[in-house]
Symmetry: C2
Subunit: 411 residues, 2 copies
């Protein structure tokens, strides 16, 4: 694939680019993107209209739409990433050995990153910015439904790349949006160092199954909020509502609410009233169903399910230990929260829940690259290798040992 060869070549130059140059190009991209706002919105309307005609689901169309405010959000992300500390060249460890060898471990780019995604055109900007910041070349394979939006965005970003005389393989949008195109891309281990897949679970599983290149997949979220016996009930209500209702279609939304049995009488009716007003369907265990008119019985499958919708499963537990056991058994290792004023219970929960992010007195919705200060995120990993949780520029790097000797040999 010609574009992958260009990317590999560009990656050698990008790996040794100075922090200053990268910062300047990212700020120029922000400027160019802001200046192209009207053009981007215009081309986005073509995509949105085609998506409506094709009858795409409304949630997908919602993710596709750009307006001047969303373009401004992309401009802001570019500026924030531009001003972050450069991860490349960071000295992670240094050791001087008894034989005089000096061993340094430094952060270096991965090389070429292929980004496979759907709908959301802002990923085009986020991926470009995070890859450039981390000294990687990027191959962008967006969905066919966003092709006009993505082309308009890349046109604006490419101007900044050309003005700075960066190699032409620095950022490339792939024209081929077919499934065969994806298959080719993910089977180029000599040219591509990492594939990141972000979109439907089907697409991610397909990529993981067929790739010969290492893959980081944006993981699904079966997230929990546990309301402890010692919770501030006002706070618990606010968080349990926010985690479920504020944006139910995303991976860090809560799917299962765990309630300490001592709170069934006090807390459950209040949160149920709020849920019902917001149109949330409730599936409960036996005790919950007895107390909530209209609730249906949750099945074993419910506890494993990411609804991505206004549905919540509710279970009562006898202790924080039981809550932890439920989460480690049924969760997806994404994001789980405890609401409590009891420091010991919080500590037990944070230590023992085996998830990418564990929260005390905050909504699961807060697990996000922007909220965490990464400027943007390239995805959220629920796997444990290489990167776990929200991924920014630093997660697009690897390390290298630099060894300084004076003639040392092995005895």
């Amino acid at each position: 694939m010609r574009q992958a060869v260009l990317a590999k070549k560009a990656s050698r130059a990008l790996a040794v680019l100075s922090s200053d140059v990268k910062q300047r190009v990212l700020l120029a991209m922000a400027e160019s993107l802001a200046a192209s706002s009207a053009d981007i919105v215009f081309h986005n309307e073509i995509d949105v209209e085609a998506a409506r005609q094709a009858g795409l689901p409304s949630a997908m169309i919602e993710r596709l739409v750009l307006d001047p405010k969303r373009v401004q959000g992309m401009v802001d992300a570019l500026k924030e990433i531009a001003l972050q500390k450069d991860p490349i060249g960071e000295l992670l460890e240094t050791t001087t050995r008894p034989n005089g060898l000096v061993i340094e471990k430094v952060r270096v780019p991965l090389g070429v990153i292929a980004m496979i995604y759907e709908s959301r055109p802002n990923v085009t900007v986020d991926a470009t910015a995070l890859c450039l910041k981390s000294g990687n070349a990027v191959l962008l394979r967006g969905g066919s439904e966003a092709i006009n939006s993505n082309r308009a965005i890349i046109k604006a970003l490419s101007k900044a790349i050309a003005d700075a005389s960066l190699p032409e393989g620095t950022v490339q949008l792939l024209d081929d949006t077919s499934r065969e195109g994806v298959m080719e891309l993910i089977r180029l281990p000599q040219l591509v160092d990492l594939v990141i897949a972000r979109g439907s679970e089907d697409m991610i599983l397909h990529v993981m199954k067929h790739a010969t290149v290492p893959v980081l997949g944006h993981g699904k979220g079966v997230c929990h909020v546990y309301v402890d016996e010692k919770a501030d009930l006002g706070m618990a209500e606010k968080i349990a509502f926010n985690a479920k209702v504020q944006r139910p279609g995303v991976c860090n939304a809560m799917e299962t609410l765990l309630i300490h049995e001592a709170l069934l009488a006090d807390f459950l009716p209040c949160i149920v009233t709020l849920y019902k007003e917001a149109g949330v369907e409730i599936r409960g265990d036996e005790a919950v169903c007895r107390l909530v008119p209209g609730a249906t019985a949750a099945t074993e499958e419910d506890w494993h399910t990411e609804y991505s919708d206004l549905i919540v499963s509710v279970r009562h537990v006898a202790s924080v230990t039981e809550a932890i056991q439920h989460i480690n058994r049924y969760g997806s290792g994404h994001t789980d929260a405890i609401i409590t004023q009891d420091a010991a219970a919080a500590q037990q929960f944070l230590l023992n829940v085996d998830s990418a992010a564990v929260m005390h007195n905050a909504s699961t919705r807060m697990h996000d690259g922007g909220v965490f200060g990464l400027g943007a995120e390239i995805g959220v990993s629920t796997r444990k290798l290489h990167a776990r949780g929200t991924m920014g520029a630093r997660e697009l790097t690897t390390t290298k040992y630099l060894v300084h000797g004076t003639g040392q040999i092995r005895q």
Copy 2:
């Protein structure tokens, strides 16, 4: 698999074990292993005798043999790892966000590690020690040729585990040494968090191809030494000889020697004389073959080949840039060295060679967990994700975000 279930259960307890307890158990293991030295050597002799009868290759038998000195080496590794800093709980980052959220990133264990290896019984000790240090449960699947040695070692190590009342799933040697046993082990993504494969390239490729669990494979090494125009020729001779001859069968031995063209007349005859005395076969490019009587012409395939034997390929280059290009094209990304007194050339080489370890004025043989101060190594990764280069206890960990809030929700 019953043993994987036990390991998973044990991993929950090991994840929250204090540094003190882990240190004490590792020191007790060292003591118990030292006390069992005669028993281990006795059982090892049974394996070695059977291997001889079965006609196994002599290199494999060499790796299998234990004597009191090698057992002492294992005892020393246990002690060194015991005294290292505990990687678990290390606070990697902490951020306070404008909304008051405090976000910590801490180091946590992976969970359950399956170690698949061949011959060398010391891996049984190294893997046990590094996994315990990093709070992971381990399933050890050694080769059938070392089963009596491994059983004797595990008997000694298990005593320390039982004395400290650690869970029975902490360290388990699998009795099933069949290929089917491996297939089962590497397809348990709910129970096993990581597979490490260390042994023949065939075995590693087999594991990588069939595993549904993430795999870290010990990579092959096509390592280079580049002797620069400005090299100290005495040092270059010592290093080029050591890197090829001291132990040709291991991954960090040199396969290709690159020589600056200005040194062909001075340096080449000296190193060739040494190589010939040591019985090293020489394959060269055209210029080298003209100067070295008896050298055969290297083919394109030679530059890609890990000989693991007393064979070296030799090429002349016109500059450090050409050396870097050769290495990035033909190398396996393992370990490469430059010999030079020119700081600028060294800097260019260290920055641009895309390998796990890049060395200046040291033998490639120095890329080793023991030499680097890790106490032992669980393998050397030539891939870029998760871990690169020699892997110790820290490479057996992942991270977790701990988020401390006061009721924050997403707006």
